[in-house]
């Protein structure tokens, strides 16, 4: 722990702590390390990462490729467990959990959004959004449908419930994916390059949606290599060589809606 705190300016950590005083810790990483064995070599993807993310934060995680960004995302998403250290998600320590326990944890606490949307092919929007609830016995068919419709309305697709995934544009598909991430009312939303496949206009539309969710009090982690996006989040964590190299609170958050309005209007056709 002590070694790790040297990795980044103490003052900033204090600043974060001061600001978030009294807020609930959603994510806590304690000296998380992850090593992979590739043949006889040991690749250290994460070399001791520690940070806390509080409820209601919109955090971007940045880093060049090979910085350990994806490995960190897999850790945060409970898709993988640390080699050492501990990861506490919403009060639950994850490292010693079994595969099936982590699956249930993902189901209840995490909403994933992927770069390529990952919607089920030939399946309607509402059925795609229902998917996480299929693996939750507490929901019956009626409750599932209600929750899915609500989530789709929240992302502005209330009028496209029965559209199939192949009948939608990229932006619409990503909205469906966001609705799917919201439907289980997760503790944290994990977005992996969620705007990476979209043109700049649609990207801003999606960012507007993220900022809305942020304002509603959602905790969002957005992994990206696009520095522009960091300006729209409340905090930015940068990784380098498997270590935290920068952790900044963004005191001047830009409004994506304004940026969208400033964009040149697309030709109507």
């Amino acid at each position: 722990m002590s070694e790790n705190t040297i990795n980044h300016p103490v003052t900033e950590q204090e600043a974060i702590d001061r600001e978030k005083k009294g807020k609930k810790v959603v994510i806590e990483l304690q000296d998380v390390r992850r090593e992979f064995h590739v043949g006889s070599e040991v690749v250290k993807a994460l070399r001791g990462v520690s940070f806390k993310i509080y409820e209601g934060e919109f955090v971007t995680i940045m880093g060049t490729s090979g910085s350990g960004k994806s490995t960190l995302l897999n850790q945060l998403g409970c898709l993988d467990t640390p080699t050492s250290g501990e990861y506490i998600l919403d009060g639950t320590p994850v490292r010693k959990m079994k595969r099936s326990e982590r699956a249930i944890l993902r189901n209840r606490k995490i909403g994933f959004i992927f770069q390529n949307y990952n919607l089920l092919a030939k399946t309607t929007a509402v059925e795609n959004v229902e998917l996480p609830l299929m693996y939750n016995k507490k929901y019956n068919a009626k409750q599932r449908r209600e929750a899915a419709v609500k989530a789709l309305q929240a992302v502005g697709l209330g009028d496209r419930l029965e559209h199939k995934s192949n009948q939608m544009s990229g932006g619409q598909m990503q909205r469906v994916a966001i609705a799917r991430a919201l439907v289980n009312d997760p503790a944290v939303i994990l977005a992996d390059e969620a705007t990476g496949n979209l043109d700049s206009r649609t990207s801003f539309e999606i960012l507007v949606l993220f900022q809305q969710l942020h304002r509603q009090g959602r905790t969002i982690i957005f992994v990206t290599h696009n520095p522009e996006i960091a300006q729209y989040s409340s905090r930015n964590i940068t990784l380098r060589d498997g270590m935290l190299c920068e952790d900044k609170v963004n005191t001047c958050i830009l409004d994506a809606a304004e940026a969208l309005a400033a964009l040149p209007q697309p030709d109507d056709d």
């Binding site: 897999n74 998403g77 898709l79 993988d80 595969r99 099936s100 699956a103 249930i104 993902r106 189901n107 209840r108 994933f112 992927f114 990952n118 089920l120 092919a121 030939k122 399946t123 998917l131 996480p132 299929m134 693996y135 939750n136 016995k137 799917r180 289980n184």
Partner: protein
């Protein structure tokens, strides 16, 4: 996930690849149809053998002298002469569960009429024999009790004998005289043809004469080869056997611990013997057909493996939103079970069709036993689970990170 949702997912997956799903079902369809047709023909043949046997009287009981040659112990030849006139009389007088009795003395030999001759078996019987063996006299009439008393040289002949001796099986030969082993017999009646039985014996190549005549004039013996009886009904056969056994043991003065010196067999036992033979043949046919089901199962496994690989990304997604290994396992297992059971359903339909074709166009005795349908479904459910398990486990064990990254 609930069964209902799993089924929905499975059906959606199958329908989204209709042609491929059909191809993987095809093996099951053909296999099941083959099994059903084989069983249907087996069952049908069995039924036709039973029908033949019951034409000979289902309540038929046969007493033979001496015990069977069981356990390789040969009986004393003198024991073979144990069935006497007194036994016949006692059964006639005392047995209450017996409707008809006829002693039987048989002899094989040449029968001659004019320039024609043939080899046949002469059965020495009482007139009741006609009722026991369900023979019908088509022309003329049967010999009488009077003929038996007089050991009259009269006989009733089967159609094959008529054919061989008179050149036409419909020849009106009542009143003609034929010679069996140089003894002239006056034909008093002709039997209605029964044809070949299902094990290939010509039932019409017979001469039936009074038993006294055959005993004295041909076989020159004082004992019977057997005694035939009809029990009151098929169900009472066992009781009738017991009753007659008691009578015969008393007549033969057998001690408590002595083994019977005769055997009584019912038609029931005959049927069981025949049925078990048919069963063996059916089993061989069904096993051959079952191998095709095994191959079909491997086909399903193959397709499921392809399907799992193709849907790696979907599996990754499902896992990331909270599907456990168990959920993925059951999803693919249900899919393979649905494929094999649908195949079974179509196979049963095809089997019924095939059985109908066999019956209608190839005149094969064929009837689909209902239990074979049940068994087909059970076997196919098993195939679905057994061959679906390996691909399903492969899917369930995927690493969600790798699966999501799969292109």
């Amino acid at each position: 996930m609930s069964i209902k949702n799993l089924l929905k997912v499975a059906i959606t997956a199958i329908l989204s690849n209709k042609f491929r799903s059909f191809l993987s079902m095809l093996g099951i369809i053909i296999g099941v149809a083959a099994v059903i047709i084989m069983m249907a023909i087996g069952q049908g043949s069995k039924q036709s053998v039973r029908a033949d046997l019951s034409k000979m009287g289902t309540n038929l009981l046969t007493i033979r002298p001496g015990a069977d040659m069981r356990n390789g112990v040969r009986q004393d030849p003198s024991a073979m002469q144990t069935l006497k006139m007194t036994d016949y009389q006692s059964i006639l007088d005392e047995a209450t569960l017996i409707t008809h009795v006829s002693p039987e003395v048989t002899s094989s030999g040449q029968v001659i009429h004019g320039a024609n001759n043939t080899t046949t078996t002469i059965y020495g019987e009482s007139p009741e024999y006609m009722d026991i063996k369900l023979w019908t006299i088509e022309e003329g009439e049967c010999f009488t009790e009077e003929d038996i008393k007089k050991s009259a040289k009269v006989c009733v002949v089967g159609r094959t004998v008529v054919q061989e001796l008179f050149g036409d099986k419909n020849y009106d030969c009542v009143g003609k005289t034929i010679r069996f082993k140089s003894i002239p017999f006056h034909i008093v009646g002709v039997l209605k043809g029964k044809g070949y039985n299902s094990w290939g014996m010509d039932q019409d190549n017979v001469m039936i004469a009074p038993y006294t005549t055959v005993m004295k004039r041909i076989a020159a013996q004082t004992f019977f080869n057997s005694i035939l009886m009809s029990a009151l009904s098929e169900d009472l056969s066992e009781d009738a056997i017991e009753e007659v056994t008691t009578i015969l043991r008393r007549n033969h003065k057998l001690k408590e611990d002595a083994v019977d010196d005769f055997t009584i067999r019912s038609q029931q036992e005959m049927m069981e013997t025949m049925s078990s033979t048919m069963d063996t043949i059916t089993i061989i046919l069904v096993v051959a057909a079952a191998f095709s089901l095994l191959v079909a199962g491997i086909g399903i496994m193959n397709i499921m493996l392809v399907s799992v690989t193709e849907r790696t990304k979907e599996i990754g997604l499902r896992m990331s939103v909270g599907a456990r290994g168990m959920d993925i396992l059951s999803q693919f297992l249900i899919e393979s079970i649905v494929i094999s059971l649908t195949g079974a359903l179509l196979g049963v339909a095809l089997g019924y069709g095939g059985s109908w074709i066999a019956k209608t166009f190839f005149a094969l005795p064929s009837s689909v036993p209902l239990w074979s349908v049940g068994i087909s479904f059970c076997v196919c459910a098993f195939i679905g689970i057994f061959f679906g398990y390996v691909p399903a486990r492969k899917a369930a064990r995927m690493d969600p990170i790798e699966a999501l990254r799969y292109e």
